[in-house]
Amino acid sequence: MATEVKLPRLGQGMESGTIVKWLKSEGDKVEKGEPLYELDTDKVTQEVEADASGVLLKIAVSEGEVEVGKTIAVIGEEGEKVAVEEEKPSRDGAAAQEAAQQPVRASGEAVRGNREVPPTQTDGRVKASPLARRIARERGIELSAVAGTGPEGRVVAEDVERAAASAAPAPLTAPSAPTEGVEIEQLSSMRKTIARRLTEAWQAPVFQLGVTVDMGRALEVRERLVEMHGDGVKPTISDLLTKVCAAALMRHREVNALYRGDAVELHPNANIGIAVAVPKGLVVPVIPGCERKSIAEIAAVRADVVERARAGKLQQADLEGGTFTISNLGMYGIERFIAVLNPPQAAILAVGSVEDKVVAVDGQPTVRPRLELTLTCDHRAVDGATGAQFLGDVKAFLEEPGLAL
C-alpha cells in the first residue's frame, strides 16, 4: 500500500512551503525518519523526514511552492503503480504575474486558457466556483495560485478578489525588459515574510525611548563570567543584556506582552527573541524562559540557535513563542538605531555598540564605556511611562547588576 507524502504544517499559520531540493531520488530506498527533502517555509529552511519506509516511487513536486496538505511524493513498494501526476512548480506567484500581464482575451479563448493551467489540486482540477472562475478570467488571475477558503477548499469569489487586490501592483513594478547589468532576485519566502511582517509592523503606532548606560560594571561582570565559563560557551555582553532584560520584563509584565487586536496578552515568561543576520535575510530565534536561566545557560542556547540559524537548520519551534526581541547591531559599530517592531510583540530593544565616551563623573570629565539602548514600543499595548520604567530598570540593572537579583 503506497503512502502519499503530503506537505506538513510545521507551525501555526503555515499555509505553504517551498521545496528546495530532494535528498532522495525516485527509486531510492527510504527509511522512516530519514531526511527526505529540504523545505523552505516563511521562517526557516529545514530537512523533513520521511514518515514511511519503502521505495520513493514518485516525486510529484520536484521544487517550488506547495500548499500545506498537498501530495508531493509517494512512498511504496518496489514496482507499485502510482496515480499521482507530476506537476510543474508554481514559483512564487510568478505565473500569476505573467497571467496578470496578459491582456484579457475573448472569453472563449480565456476559458480554454484557464483549463490548461497546471493544477495544484491532487485530483488534477482546481476547485473553484463559477463566479470565482469568471472573476479570475476577467482579471487575469491564475486560479491555481489562489488558496481556496470555501467548503472543501473551494476557491470562492472572495479569494480571487483578495488575490487580485494583492496582485494588482505587479504589472506596475514588473520591468518590461530588464536593463543590462541589473540582477533580478525573486523574493525568497523568507524575504516575503520579512516584507509582509515589517509592513504590518509599520502600521503600528509606535514611539521610541532612548537611554545611555554606563557599562563599567557590566563589563566587569562579563569578564568574571568569561573567566568562570570553563568548557561552556563564552558569555557575551548580549547574553548579559538578555538576562537583564528578562529580569526587567518580569518586573514590568506590560512590556512582556503581545498585542492581539482586541486584547493584550501579558506573558508569564520572558521568551526573548534574538535577531540574527543570516545570508539574505534575518531570523529571530527565541530563547525561552530567560528569567529562569543563568547567563551561562542563556549563552549556551544562544550559541546553538545562532549557529543553526546561520546554517539554515532552525526548526519552526525555534522561532515561536517570543514575547520580546533584542536586536543588536553593536558589533557593526552602530552607536544607535531604531528597531522596527516584531508583531505581535509590544516592544523591541535596539542595542548599539559600547563606546568609550568622555562624560562628567562627579563634575570631572571622565572616560567611561557607554552603551545606547533604544526601545520601540507599540503604543496600543504600552504607554510611555510604562516603557520608561522598564527601560530605566534595564539601565539600572546594567549599571548595578546586583539589582537584577
Binding site: 463559477p130 463566479l131 472562475r133 469568471r134 470555501g150 473551494r154 470562492v156 469569489a157
Partner: protein, 329 residues
C-alpha cells in the same frame, strides 16, 4: 385595508368572481352545506344557491370531467379537489383532457377551468393525505400551476386563475389557512408568472414555495443575527415560472437555496436549480442547495412527520453551508 385569513382570501376571490360573473361557479365534494373539508366555501351556498355551489359525488374523475366539460362550453368553473393526493383519481381528466384540448383543437376550444386543492403535512394526516404533488403538474404542457403562500397572493392569484383561458391547478397549503395578511379593499388581480420578493438580501437567495416561504422568512431573520443577509423570493406561479426575477436575484447574491415541502428528489426545486445554474452560471459562488422532504412516504406519527418535512432550521443550515458558517456541517 381589511385583514383576511388565507381561508377568507380564497373565499373572497371566489365570491367576488361569482357576484360579478354568472359564468363562474364552484363544485366539489361537501363544499355546499359543509363548506368544504377546510371550511373555505362556508356560507357560499346561502349566498349563491345550489346551482352555483354544487356538491358532487365522491368521484374526482367525474367531477373533474364535468368541470372540464363546462369550461369547454364557456363557463369558468372552479372545482375543489378535497386533498391534492386525490388528484391521482382525476389525472386522466386533467392531464389527458384539460391540458390537451386547446392544443389539439388548434385553439378552437379553450378550457378555462380552475382546480383548487390543498395538502401538506402538519396535521398528521398520513401518507395518503399530506403529499405535495405540484411537481407532477408543472411537468405537463398545457397546464398552469399556482402555489399561493399568503392571503393577498391567494386572492389575487385565484382571480387570475379563474380568468385565465387555460386550466390552472391552484395549490393551497393546509397549515396556511389561518394566517392573516392585510389585503387591498379592491381586489387587485396578480398576473400569473410573477414572483414576489418577500425580503431583500445580499448574501443568499432562498427561492421558496408554499409553507416554506414562511420557514425561509424565519430562517432569514435568524441568519441576519449572524450577519448573513438573505433574500426570500416566492415564485408563486410555478408554471409559467418567472425565471427573470429568480435569476436576477441570484446574480445579485451569488448563492441560491431552493426550498419546498415536497420531496427534494426530482422535485420542483430541481427545475429551479437547473434554471438558475443556466441563467446565472457565472454568478454562482457556491453549489445550489435544495431543501425539501426526505424521500419517503409521510408517516402518521407526528414526531416522524416533523422529522421528514423541512422546517426553518433546515433552510438555515443550507444557508450556513453556503456561506461557510458554523453549524453548516
Amino acid at each position: 385595508m381589511p385583514e383576511l385569513s388565507y381561508r377568507e382570501a380564497v373565499r373572497d376571490a371566489l365570491s367576488r368572481a361569482m357576484r360579478e360573473d354568472e359564468d363562474v361557479f364552484i363544485m366539489g365534494e361537501d363544499i355546499a352545506e359543509m363548506g368544504g373539508s377546510m371550511g373555505v366555501t362556508q356560507g357560499m351556498l346561502d349566498e349563491f344557491g345550489p346551482e352555483r355551489v354544487r356538491n358532487t359525488p365522491i368521484s374526482e374523475m367525474a367531477l373533474a370531467g364535468a368541470a372540464i366539460g363546462a369550461a369547454m362550453q364557456g363557463m369558468r368553473p372552479v372545482a375543489e379537489i378535497m386533498y391534492e393526493d386525490f388528484l391521482t383519481l382525476a389525472a386522466e381528466q386533467i392531464v389527458n383532457q384539460a391540458a390537451k384540448h386547446r392544443y389539439m383543437s388548434g385553439g378552437q376550444v379553450t378550457v378555462p377551468v380552475t382546480f383548487r386543492t390543498q395538502g401538506g403535512a402538519g396535521w398528521s394526516p398520513g401518507a395518503q393525505h399530506a403529499q405535495q404533488l405540484e411537481a407532477w403538474f408543472v411537468h405537463i404542457p398545457g397546464l398552469k400551476v399556482v402555489f399561493a403562500s399568503t392571503p393577498a397572493d391567494a386572492r389575487g392569484l385565484l382571480w387570475s386563475s379563474i380568468y385565465d383561458d387555460n386550466p390552472v391547478i391552484f395549490f393551497e397549503h393546509r397549515t396556511l389557512y389561518g394566517i392573516k395578511e392585510e389585503v387591498p379593499d379592491e381586489l387587485e388581480p396578480i398576473p400569473l408568472g410573477e414572483a414576489r420578493i418577500h425580503r431583500e438580501g445580499e448574501d443568499v437567495t432562498v427561492i421558496a414555495t408554499g409553507r416554506l416561504v414562511h420557514e425561509a422568512l424565519a430562517a432569514a431573520q435568524e441568519a441576519e443575527q449572524e450577519g448573513v443577509s438573505v433574500e426570500v423570493v416566492d415564485p408563486r406561479t410555478l408554471q409559467p415560472l418567472d425565471e427573470d426575477t429568480l435569476i436576477s436575484s441570484v446574480k445579485k447574491t451569488n448563492r441560491c437555496v431552493v426550498a419546498h415541502e415536497a420531496v427534494t428528489r426530482m422535485g420542483f426545486g430541481a427545475e429551479v436549480a437547473a434554471v438558475i445554474q443556466y441563467g446565472a452560471f457565472d454568478w454562482l459562488d457556491a453549489p445550489i442547495e435544495r431543501v425539501g422532504a426526505k424521500f419517503t412516504p409521510l408517516p402518521f406519527a407526528p414526531v416522524m412527520e416533523e422529522f421528514v418535512v423541512p422546517h426553518s432550521g433546515d433552510v438555515l443550515q443550507a444557508i450556513y453551508r453556503m456561506v461557510g458558517r458554523r453549524n453548516g456541517n
